[in-house]
Point group: C2
């Protein structure tokens, strides 16, 4: 059962090896475990699956030595690697379909067990925006909510600062040894001391541009809702808001003057139906009923009931599916219907294609091929 | 047919006498005309109806001399009294159920025939609010809409100023000889020269506090929608927005910072479902389909089909209705049902009570007795 067990040292090593292997992301990790029955079995089967998917060259499985070194370095840095089946893993994050199998946490694990609300916004925030962020963060903290944000300049930093005492979580785009931006290293230490820093990346990972949108799904994923304080057009905060919607989280936005370009994004969210917020009490009123329920579990570690497919049929099906796929994303449901394969068989073929680096997964259960 | 005929001089005199008589407001005016068959007949029947309603002393019917003097003074001031059945009367205003039977207009009548949008807001507006109002007024004008507002300080004045060239209408709370506030007399002259000033009040009427909310229904009534730019809590602009909702008009609000008390009212409107607006194009897009249709007619001047009630039944019914009424507003539909009277008969009794100064009408077809 999710959140009910603890990994052994050997298991944690296996988990780390699998997620650090080539072409394995959170979704592939889950699919592999569901298909193969266990993480250990997935590590063994991985090269074969990738080969059947048409990988150009043999897939690289993370060696045990590398994973051991990473675990030791994390321990030395005070970083715990929490698996999504373990009780310390944030409850809501476990519910998103691309939840990191392992979360690297530095700080107080207890804060991750409490209900969270995300507070994000512009880096070049206005004085008014910063004040609003501070006030909201403080009041949300008073209401018992942990404030989660991205440790960026501006709104994010103000939100963390104002919720240090009540509980705050910073989600990093890079590893724990690469705090970004450097000017927030002191704030990061304070967050680690009183709250928690979390990331799915290896310790020494230097964040690149594309790691920030990827990270944003964790900010919204941890939280019951996302409050956007100031956001320009095409800003990272809008990505977090979009992730929140895809994850079924509440999206709140603080209104601003039409003359202020830093309010264009948040006003735009309001036009699209985000909930207008001017005070924390309103956010608390909306999320309180949501926080009542408990999340659905994650079906990992239960072996797939279906036996492996006979090689012949499988090869036919693979070919049919590949020919159905193209650069335009299509739904997996359509693939199942059009290919004539069983749902389980189609999923195995897609998994192999993914491991071979040929499949791209899109939000909403859509896939395309490169 | 509404908007299809012009009053003769004698008729205009009768209309003015009736609306200037005691206890006759726009709703009573309509009810009287529908009941009696014509304005002339209503003038004759008025004292008798009021007596039957239980008036403490004989009702004062406006003498012909007084009305003639008002007409002459209006002419001298360049003010036309337009009846709601005449083509120059603003089309949308004719649709509200308490449309003034006569509108005193100074300026260009042509502007009243064009589609209007109301732009209202705080008197103590911020510099940003004034700029937004100017920009919206200018752009709405460019889109072919006449901007209607209340000639108040702040947002109203900025809206008029920025739409002088494209078309603007100011609705006064007092008479044409009492421009309020005095500092806007120059602006009022400019509006009269390029647009129009309108009011339902007599030439020399000095506006009192309660005349402003009453006036606000005309601002929203003229318009396809109301845009609120800055509004504090419990401000007049919120009254205009409420009137707009009751009249089935679109309500738009410009968002503002939660730190700005001048945005509390407009942000509050947004929370209640007003349409968020940051640019005129959005308002234009929403109201354009609305402006396509033509308004329903007004049934005045068509005599009531029902014959007068026998005095005995009427007296019984009046007593039943009076006993059903109290200080708590009740719906006319309930009165019809509970009294057992016909809808027409109940309406006559209510009309008599109103003329006798005993009935108060509330929004939503509710009535109470004093």
């Amino acid at each position: 059962m999710s959140g009910q067990r603890r990994l052994s040292d050997d298991e944690r090593l296996d988990w780390l090896r699998l997620i650090r292997s080539d072409n394995v992301g959170p979704r592939t990790f889950r699919a592999l475990v569901n298909h193969c029955g266990s993480v250990r079995a997935a590590l063994t089967t991985l090269p074969d699956l990738a080969r059947r998917g048409g990988a150009a060259r043999p897939i690289r499985v993370c060696p045990a030595d590398d994973a051991e070194r990473e675990l030791a370095a994390a321990r030395a840095r005070g970083v715990s690697l929490i698996a999504e089946v373990e009780p310390d893993y944030p409850m809501r994050l476990r519910m998103i379909d691309d939840a990191p199998p392992l979360l690297a946490v530095r700080g107080a694990l207890a804060v991750l067990a409490r209900p969270m609300i995300a507070l994000v916004g512009a880096r070049n925030a206005s004085a008014a925006g910063l004040r609003v962020a501070q006030r909201l963060a403080h009041e949300l903290g008073q209401a018992g909510l942990v404030v989660v944000s991205g440790l960026a300049r501006g709104i994010d930093a103000a939100a963390h600062q104002a919720s240090l005492a009540s509980g705050t979580v910073a989600v990093l785009a890079g590893g724990h040894n690469h705090i970004y931006p450097p000017e927030n290293v002191t704030l990061a230490e304070a967050v680690a001391a009183q709250g928690a820093l979390i990331t799915e990346m290896p310790l020494g990972w230097e964040p690149r541009a594309k790691d920030f949108p990827r990270r944003n799904r964790l900010i919204s994923g941890c939280a019951a809702g996302v409050v956007v304080v100031e956001a320009a057009k095409r800003s990272g905060s809008l990505i977090t808001a979009r992730m929140a919607l895809e994850q079924g989280r509440e999206v709140f936005a603080v209104p601003g003057s039409p003359l202020d370009p830093r309010a264009e994004g948040s006003n735009g969210l309001l036009k699209q139906g985000a909930t207008l917020v001017t005070e924390a009490a309103y956010v608390v009123a909306v999320v309180t009923p949501i926080l009542g329920g408990s999340p659905p579990g994650f079906a990992a570690q239960e072996p797939s009931a279906e036996p492996p497919l006979p090689p012949g049929i499988e090869s036919d099906l693979r070919q049919r599916i590949v020919s159905l796929l193209g650069p335009t994303p299509v739904s997996i449901d359509d693939l199942i219907r059009l290919s004539g394969g069983s749902a389980a068989a189609v999923r195995v073929v897609l998994l192999e294609l993914e491991l071979a680096g040929r499949l791209i997964r899109h939000p909403g259960g859509l896939v395309s091929i490169t």
